[in-house]
Amino acid sequence: MDFGLSDDQKMMQESVGRTLERAVPLDAVRKGASAFEALKELGVPGILIPEADGGLGLTLLDAAVVAEQLGRHVAPMPFTASAVMAPLALKGTPWLKKLAAGEIRCGVAVSEHASGAREDAGIVSRNRKLSGRAMFALDADGADIFVVADKFGDLHLVQAKDVEITLLPTIDTTRAVAKLELHDADAEPLKDASILRIIDAGRVVLAADTLGAGTRMLEKAVAYAKERKQFGRVIGSFQAVKHMCAEMAAELEPARALVWYAAYGFDACPAESRRLAAHAKAHTSEIGPFVARTATEVHGGMGFTDLLGLHYWFKRIGFNRQLLGSPERVREDAARAQGWIGN
């Protein structure tokens, strides 16, 4: 019985954190820098890919540890789709080696199944050709290939060159999502892949990202409250401000245990993983925005400015909340997974 991170995971946490601090400080994030090259050296793109294919062969808990750091540093990095969801979908294909080596990146388009179909989105598959529109494809910017779900939830691999990609402007400039339009695009069916599993993995990783971003926002709020003076005192000596910080901490600490457990459960108890992933995603999506908003308020007017840049974390959390299913939607998956309602 050992609930927590292993020494290796703590080392990974530290080395990824240090690398991100150096590679993508906020000024670099503002200018659109990417952490991809720096994290490639640590093997992050291949974190879930078997060692035989040149990856690190690690677990989803390790990926969650990395995601937490990415959230902490609002790091621009194709990770959720390219390093977590895609490798699970591409198991057994030659693409894994290239992904692990960081030679290619992979986008994932499953929004219609994770969040539901908006407008007339939907992909039809016929004779190894895909047609239709997929919304909110993740890690779409610079992707060489895409994993795309059709209307039945079967997964296919398509080349980026065969897809009309329109990047969508979102609140969060640190990660890219796109609209994909396909017109009889050549597609390779990914028969062994489970769309539910890859959505679960993506949800856990987004939850970890929110946890990291939220934790950093709390730290920033506490640091600011210990420095900023009004009425001749640091504002952190006012009970109203202290209690805001205490409430953030009280929400974040148990959420950390939930995220770790969901990540661990993905590999250790797959039968439970759908419910765990849904709850981790939905719960962090509830407390994340609470922390984001409260930390911003602790910073007063400065928190609202672009100058301070706190909004990068605020937006990161807001983005994570909606991606791969907003909380109400995701909780319904948790209800179905435990037989509370029919499918």
């Binding site: 019985m1 609930f3 709390l218 952190g236 910080c245 205490a246 600490e253 939930l258 719960h283 948790a334």
Partner: protein
Amino acid sequence: MDLSYPPEYETFRAEVRAFCHTHADRAPASYFSAEARAWQLLLIEHGYAARTIPKDYGGYGAQPDILKSRIIAEEFIAAGLPMGMANQGISMLVPTLLELGTEEQKQRWIAPTLRGEVIWCQGYSEPGAGSDLAALTTRATEDGDDFVINGQKIWTSTAAQADMIFCLVRTEADKPKHEGISYLIFPMRTPGIEVRPLVTMTGRAEFNEVFFTDVRVPKKDIVGQRGQGWLVANATLKHERGMLGDPNQAGTRLRALVEMMQTETLDGRRLMDHPVWRDRLLKLQARVMAMEYHGLRLLTCAQKGEDPGLARLIVKLQGCELNHQLAGFANDVLGELGILYGASAHLRAHGEWQSRFMFDLGLIIGGGTAQIQKNIISERGLGMPREPKAAS
């Protein structure tokens, strides 16, 4: 992360399970009864109560092993059996005596307390000393070999049943407030003590007021040094906060709620089939899970001897709040049935949801209010400036 138990623990679990199976029929129905004391003796004999208390003082004498303690709790809960007694004497006085009592006090009080033969109550809070406990004014003045006590305590659970009280009194009126307190233990039948039941919003008297008029207590019945009572009390308060906000209770409530929502109907549909309520239930389920896994994280820290710091400080605040929300939600899904209180054929769960919803408010306030908890979290957990000390 490895949530499996080593083989020797699985063997231990099998033993506990077998015990629960064999002895289930001896489980007592009520707390203050001969059966309850017999059950307690049986548990001590097997090491399922008073497990780590030395044998010399009437305990089982095992080495502390957090995993085994957890296994015992898990198996007793799963079997629906009452655990060993966890009254204030056992949870708070015994650890205090073990740490700070004289050999004579340990020999005299620990064993009968563990066996449930001596029931204790706690005399801490006063009408004028709640969150600011150190402001207490119950006086103990010297008279020969005795202290003579005058004053009043409040929020005293089990005062009516208690044989003994552990009590904070002011012995040095001229010292700063934290330095003038002593920790005395004395019988509740001492002349001059009056117990009045304190009826709360639940309609029951879960607490009492205790009045002291010229109560004579021998000076030797002090725990720790004179004037050191604040430190002695803090040694026990840390035991109390661990008891409040227990995630096992939230898990039990959640399971009862799920069962109710799957069986109870409204307009002919199961409550679970009403999406708004289902969503609220799911939100609470995530919180219960988070607190449960958080408990595992704390368990691991305790096992490794690490201080979990901030992670430990949030438990009372979050745990009590969650229990309250679970009960409140149960009342909501019951609708108008949820307001029934008292004997009625339509009452659900013996009216416990409504009763807990109210009583939980007492737990949110007691044992350090939610606001005091937030001070502690921000000051000790996050390193923010301390509250200015009030004039003493």
